[in-house]
Symmetry: C2
Subunit: 202 residues, 2 copies
Amino acid sequence: MEVWNNDRLSGQIAFIKEIDKLKGVLRQTLIMDGSRRENTAEHSWNIAVFAMLMHEYTESPRPDLNRVIRMLLLHDIVEVDAGDTFAYDTVGYEDKEERELAAANRLFGLLPEDQREEWMGLWREFEDVATPESRYANAIDRLLPLLHNYYTGGNSWVRHGIVRSQVIRRIAPVETIAPALWSFAMELLDRAVKQGILKEDE
Amino acid sequence: MEVWNNDRLSGQIAFIKEIDKLKGVLRQTLIMDGSRRENTAEHSWNIAVFAMLMHEYTESPRPDLNRVIRMLLLHDIVEVDAGDTFAYDTVGYEDKEERELAAANRLFGLLPEDQREEWMGLWREFEDVATPESRYANAIDRLLPLLHNYYTGGNSWVRHGIVRSQVIRRIAPVETIAPALWSFAMELLDRAVKQGILKEDE
């Protein structure tokens, strides 16, 4: 860690340098022109804007959008160490929690103590899915990949032979949090099945 | 534009699809491992987190961080049409305003009217640099590339033969907004000059 005259700042600069690696963590989704896989840094921007865009559709208790945005900007930082775990990868999910906690401790551990507590708190809140903010953040984090798959010819649905009911289970939380978005998602899945880019259940 | 059962949503989905192109807009900066150029979507995430990280160093009148974050998430969306203009490119800056206004009208024009007004307003506020929020947002948007250049062997400083005073002029707004960050930047530039990755003025 490079040391600067300002102690607090030394840790914070080390942190921003470290999380730059998120730009090299690749997800299963393609960017929407289909040309390459999306990285987690881009996704983090994308999902924060998507949260702003879709917030009007949330039902009471309305999540505090500012808190949601901050949570989403930080929610995937642990992937610097833990990598991206594919949504339908049951094996990867077995030790996901453990790997991500170790990553959170190391990465947020670079920050000054007060900031570390606050930021770890936001990350934990996202993971625990127990507040209106984290429920909304998680729901749209599951919704956005549908758009990516839909607009890139099915991509990971096709490659992994995903069927409609698997996607529906995955995005189930959307239904109560934002019914209008749920209707939209069902419409999108209908079209995807009709286009042959998502398999119907047998 | 693909039409969905929900009219408002049709425009909003068209918007999210359109701004996905920001992932293909390349900046002059390299990502910090030096392996490739950074794109504007990644940068937008990076700068929003950087704003969170550095907010404690702002002086009174303290900018509202929530507004800063939203502004930064949207500030470069116009680059989908207008491309990235290099900070030291005087020719590119001649018609930058015009190009970006046309882009803003087209892109935010995809949104429902109330949302369009709000989001265009945030973008204009960033461009006008007249509020504490936009002054802070602009200042750190100028500061972050110093870190990128510093940690990638000078990169665009070297390629374009930039000298120390040019960088200092570029980041001048940081001095009044966050004096501690200004001191840090001066320390960084000293080290960069000593390492031979930034030219001293003649």
